[in-house]
């Protein structure tokens, strides 16, 4: 396990007048993965989005997870909407006939 949860902050020049936020704990990988969909759907508050991205900035594993999550959604759509299988393909004549007959019985 090498995924950083609270990696050491990068060295910063001392700023006496700026509040030190670099020690604030990072959200965990679990929280990031739980909120991937909400992040992609733009449903996080600005503060949540900031914390989410602050974690991503130091966690390549969660960046990979986010990218592969997006790839999964894209692959699913592509697989089920294959252009080689036209959505408006021919309707089997037998089905047209069955629908016609069923409609007459329905009437």
């Amino acid at each position: 396990m090498t995924s950083p949860q609270n990696p050491p902050p990068p060295p910063q020049p001392p700023r006496i007048t700026t509040p030190d936020t670099s020690r604030r704990p990072y959200i965990t990988c679990r929280e990031v993965l739980d909120f991937v969909m909400a992040y992609l759907d733009g449903e996080l508050t600005p503060e949540q989005k900031h914390e989410f991205e602050r974690h991503l900035a130091v966690c390549p594993s969660c960046v990979n997870y986010l990218e592969t999550y997006k790839a999964t959604v894209r692959l699913g759509k592509q697989a089920m909407h294959d252009p080689d299988e036209p959505a408006t393909g021919n309707v089997p004549e037998g089905l047209i006939k069955a629908i016609r007959e069923a409609r007459r019985h329905q009437a």
Binding site: Q5, C29, R30, M37, S61, Y65, Y69, Q78, L95, R103
Partner: protein
């Protein structure tokens, strides 16, 4: 795990799908349908049947079931023509009815094969401190290099079919049929939050199933 919800609401009672307006030829066809013109019914079947069959084939596995669902959808639509308010396209309305007929058919069928895999086995795992149990590796840049496109398609379909049914159906409705969260919730008798949770877990589970096939090979 079966589909949730005890009552399946007829699509005609669901909120209207996003309006794209009716074109003139569709309005003419609708007029002929409402007058009971036999040729117009055949025309509608030929016009919309292919798309409806594609939807049914995505949701149901057997061709016979898919064709039966499309037939049911047309008969349901014919009975409800007076209730079609024209705020959406006729084909969009038929799409929703087809999805509903497929859902009813899915609910009445037991999933073929053995017991389903637990969704928990397909979700990411964490250590007690919240770290991922193992690091996530990147996938190939195009997520498919070295594999024929049709192979990728078949692989992804196979993995979608491996999802537990309650999750597969939400993924199909939301990601594939692009039905809104609210409509999906109504159709399945779930809360909006439950639909969101199931969709997220379904995507995570599908990601887990696809990972071994797409993870980038380490360069020597």
């Amino acid at each position: 795990m079966g589909l949730a919800g005890n009552t399946l609401v007829l699509m005609t009672a669901l909120p209207s799908p996003p309006s794209q307006g009716q074109d003139a030829s569709e309005a003419l066809l609708l007029g002929r349908l409402r007058e009971g013109d036999d040729a117009a019914f055949d025309e509608l079947v030929r016009l919309a049947g292919g798309r409806m069959l594609a939807v049914a084939r995505r949701m149901l596995h057997r061709e016979e079931d898919a064709q039966d669902a499309v037939q049911e959808a047309f008969l349901s639509a014919f009975k409800s023509l007076d209730r079609f308010d024209g705020r959406s396209q006729l084909t969009t309305w038929l799409h929703r009815i087809t999805v509903n007929c497929c859902l009813m058919r899915m609910r009445s069928q037991r999933r073929r094969g053995g017991p389903e895999r637990s969704i928990d086995d397909l979700l990411p795992t964490f250590l007690s401190d919240g770290h991922q149990t193992r690091n996530t590796a990147p996938w190939q840049p195009d997520a498919a290099s070295g594999i024929e496109r049709t192979e990728v398609r078949d692989l992804v379909r196979e993995k979608i079919d491996e999802l537990p049914e309650a999750y597969r159906v939400v993924l199909l409705l939301r990601d594939i049929e692009e039905i809104s969260t609210e409509e999906t919730a109504t159709a399945l008798g779930l809360s909006v939050n439950a639909v969101k949770t199931r969709l997220h877990r379904a995507r995570q589970a599908l990601r887990t199933l696809l990972e071994p096939h797409f993870v980038a090979r380490e360069t020597p």
